[in-house]
């Protein structure tokens, strides 16, 4: 690939990414009333999206081979427990991450 082709490729990736980010705002501008169905979606989608993002983070974990997702499950259980206990975002995240690092580096 020549430098020009590289620049075009990167520009297209930028353009595509921006399209996915700006499109809803272009379709439903602030000045006009947003259709009810779209407002409904704006309200009910986020919880589903957060669930999807959790799965998205875990997409490369294989349940059936290797460590059978045991380090992931244990660490997520710790995150949940810490968060139910203290409700401190940073503590829950740090606790789970340190636990996971210890498990994959020393145990599995």
């Amino acid at each position: 690939m020549t430098l020009t082709q590289q620049i075009i490729t990167i520009a297209i990736v930028v353009l595509g990414t921006m399209l996915t980010r700006f499109l809803p705002f272009l379709l439903f501008p602030a000045g006009k009333p947003t259709p009810k169905y779209v407002r409904y979606l704006g309200k009910v989608l986020p919880p589903a999206v957060f669930g999807m993002l959790v799965i998205y983070c875990l997409k490369n974990v294989s349940i059936f081979t290797g460590s059978h997702a045991i380090p992931e499950m244990l660490s997520i259980a710790l995150v949940v427990a810490l968060h139910l206990w203290k409700r401190q975002m940073l503590l829950s995240i740090a606790g789970g991450t340190v636990c996971y690092m210890l498990l994959v580096q020393l145990v599995f």
């Binding site: 690939m1 082709q5 590289q6 075009i8 490729t9 990167i10 297209i12 990736v13 930028v14 353009l15 595509g16 990414t17 921006m18 996915t20 980010r21 700006f22 499109l23 809803p24 705002f25 602030a30 169905y37 779209v38 407002r39 409904y40 979606l41 704006g42 309200k43 009910v44 989608l45 986020p46 919880p47 589903a48 999206v49 957060f50 669930g51 999807m52 993002l53 959790v54 799965i55 998205y56 983070c57 875990l58 997409k59 380090p71 992931e72 660490s75 997520i76 968060h83 139910l84 975002m89 940073l90 829950s92 995240i93 789970g96 991450t97 996971y100 690092m101 498990l103 994959v104 580096q105």
Partner: protein
Amino acid sequence: MNEISAGTVPARKDGKIKKAFLAAFPHTIPIFAGFWFLGITYGIYMNVSGFSFWYPMLMSLTIFAGSVEFVAVNMLLGAFNPLQALAMTLMINARHLFYGLSMLDRYRGTGWKKFYLIFGMCDESFSINYSAHIPDGVDSGWFMFFVTLLNQIYWFTGATLGGIFGSLITFNTEGLDFVMTAMFVVIFMDQWLKEERHISSLLGLGISFLCLLAFGADNFIIPSMIAILGVLTFLRKPLEKGGEIS
């Protein structure tokens, strides 16, 4: 800058900006860990693929969407195919459409910052800006602006440093990327704990998991989005009748 520091009204503005920055920063600390790890990894990956640090530096600045930047490395190494590059980008980033639909109201009235808020709306910035409890008296526009800006700075510096010094890192960082998973689990839980009914949360988890099993790690996001959209549309009447669900 000179205009801002002179006079009483701008001074109040200074205070407002500082307050928003101080409120936003703690929320971004986990992202700092995650983005430095992933960003440095990305910079190293570009480095060993034969690209100078200019590539990760400029790409992290202009694209600012982690997964597609990794894929872009392969695009740059392969044959020139702009149409395929566009199709791949749209597929990988389609989830941003949902973020935009969710943020239509929240980004309203943020003035010139709105453009940057949308430009920098990665998974992490969207999640924090949607779910964070912004304290009373803190300007939400500036709060979301700093969340977005700090996150991009972390990613940009990580990718650049990785591109320059990447090969020198020696301590064992295996598993550090779990910080992102842990953060999304916490955000999911916060949402769960404050909602009355969990239908949408459960649908998101369940449908995505089923689609992951059915379509595999590389192809499950689009079917998941279509299925989530379909089921939520189907359930509109009962969900709206039950009042607020989130």
